[in-house]
Symmetry: C3
Subunit: 271 residues, 3 copies
């Protein structure tokens, strides 16, 4: 597993730090300091502060389309408290590094599931002294970079029970043949409502109609492959490019049209 | 052309995806997966959604100051429809990769013009399956990275007539000796009004005065080299650092002062 | 000093350019063009336009936690005027490159102080022609990259008197045993009020109480190690992870609660 490093030296990085001040760059520099050969890809640093759900959705929608790598993710309202720092080895060969608050779980499931979970306790791998409020810099970034640089997975710390990990930051959708109840997970920058409904479980094929119930709205809408297939300003449902059902408006905002917010119920029913 | 890759392995990347969620990072990882040796430079991912004009201006103002490279650009309201995916070889040696909607054209003109245009059709170069809504990840990023990694330009697909390409996303300025009529292309983050008026064609030299007509305003203003040469809060015209005429306010916003919006007419006249 | 380059080829980069348009990417490409082997880490490009104080705080809070490197920083309302372009060698081995307006000074002090200051005058190291409004692209980026690539420090230009450098962009805090008066330096993206009060000089230990006087508010608050130790919505003071005293609210905004703005007085007193 560890020869040459997980992911051929690739580390991905997601946080809710924002890019307006310095913490993301500090973590990059720390990674390059402890493992000079790694290549770092920023998944996003624009997760709204403390929104574990949004961070989890972005990881789960992005990581399956990347090569196997070490993925460091920090959305961590419990920093400095007793929540565990984790490293999770997935079936596909990826390792996810971050806090035990559910952030990592949905992505792990899409990477084949967790095959080995470890608590990060090895202080030799951390930046010293470890601060109380910046574990991204002091624990997660250096440990992730070292794993990508060739550190054997076992060295981060002792195994923990996979069954004891904190669960995903949303209720799992209820999948029925004609109906599914899930949640809005994220409003993206184009105004689309990204849900946690997996299209591998509940396909949204183009050319049909579905009933959408969300935030008090109850409407029948078409399904389509892409924006150009519906009229300007028209609401429609589609299988987004990352395996989740999505509500969009051609050149408009489905989020604004529906008034639905992350965490709220979204129900789809086939007509 | 292709030995060692166009641009010595350098790929630049511009989109309207924003940095709040995951698509930019996914494209980076896809590029490093298919061509591990490339170096990626982000030009911008803050182009307002679907604003082809703004994306075109940023490309045209930035690329001439970079070394020759592969430039991947995605502002693509027509994704998944019949608009062509293109690779355009320019006289300076750059290749621009993106949709056929005019986004790439103004930059190509500043790089010596398109010398060979090809439609991207070679599915072996794409991520499979190709989604209907994320051609950045599935077509443009992997094809661009492979070109930077050494793929011969001819392999992307068949030639298309240069004369049949979709035109630039603005009306070309009307250049006269004392007068020019162009458009506001972008309000930058400092509040400057960046126009599509090329100063190589219509010089804006410091120390003179010009009449500005835009958005109902008609004012005579000084020209200057830099902000510190005019009074605080004073509107002035200058030759910006990228070859376009620009309206600025020292420590203020010309966009707010004039109320002009991207796409609107800007007329300058020498006094 | 110069064999193999300062900072093993690492360049960090901070500006107030924002990421919505192209200048940051242009500077990256220029750096990779003149020094292909350098690795670039973005500290931040979200410093509010012309806010030297915010840029100085971000540099000073981030750089001590990075390895020694060349640090290019551009927040430069005086671009094109007579202010000097500088390269400052610090005791730890770092070189800071940017304008002489106080931006670089607080970080230099935390890196052991400036040991040699030089004015950048060597035009062979610059992009030509040098524009009047984009010294980031034409002077600071290429000179910084060349230094990281191995250019001897002395070649940038003649020495200048360290005592003649423009001072820090804030009043130095008045440290007394029980009381300290400093400034709000930055409201971070979590809503925390970052001050310029150094905890190495005036420790903020957890488990005590301090009186906070800022923006007309006068309140006694607890001190804590981390957010999870105080109630939701509670204001508290803490030693942030970068060596400065900070005011925070668990899952809320201290900046909004206090109404304090960057540059305003913050007084702390031990109870």
């Amino acid at each position: 597993m560890s020869e040459g490093g997980i992911g051929r030296g690739l580390v991905t990085f997601l946080t809710d730090f924002g890019l307006a001040w310095g913490p993301v760059g500090t973590c990059h520099a720390v990674m390059l300091d402890v493992a000079p050969g790694v290549r770092i890809v920023d998944v996003s640093h624009g997760i709204p502060p403390f929104q574990i759900r949004a961070g989890a959705w972005v990881l789960a929608s992005a990581l399956p389309y990347m090569p196997a790598a070490v993925h460091v993710a920090v959305v961590d309202p419990g920093v400095g408290t007793s929540r565990l720092p984790l490293a999770l080895l997935c079936d596909r060969g990826d390792v996810l590094v971050g806090p035990d608050n559910g952030l990592l779980l949905p992505a792990c499931e899409r990477l084949g599931g967790v095959v080995e979970a470890r608590q990060i306790t090895n202080r030799d791998l951390m930046r010293r002294p470890v601060s109380a409020t910046f574990h991204g810099r002091d624990i997660f970034a250096p440990v992730g970079a070292r794993l990508a640089g060739g550190l054997p997975f076992e060295e981060v710390g002792p195994e923990v029970e996979i069954g004891h990990l904190f669960g995903p930051p949303w209720r799992r959708p209820e999948y029925e043949e004609k109906r599914v109840v899930g949640e809005a997970a994220l409003l993206d920058s184009f105004g689309n409502v990204r849900t946690n409904i997996e299209t591998a479980r509940w396909p949204v094929e183009a050319g049909a109609r579905v009933r959408v119930r969300a935030a008090g709205v109850d409407r029948e809408v078409p399904t389509a492959r892409t924006f150009g297939e519906v009229g300007r300003g028209e609401l429609f449902a589609f299988d987004d490019s990352s395996g989740y059902a999505c509500l969009g408006v051609n050149q408009g905002s489905a989020g604004e049209m529906l008034g639905v917010r992350p965490g709220e119920r979204v129900e789809l029913e086939r007509m």
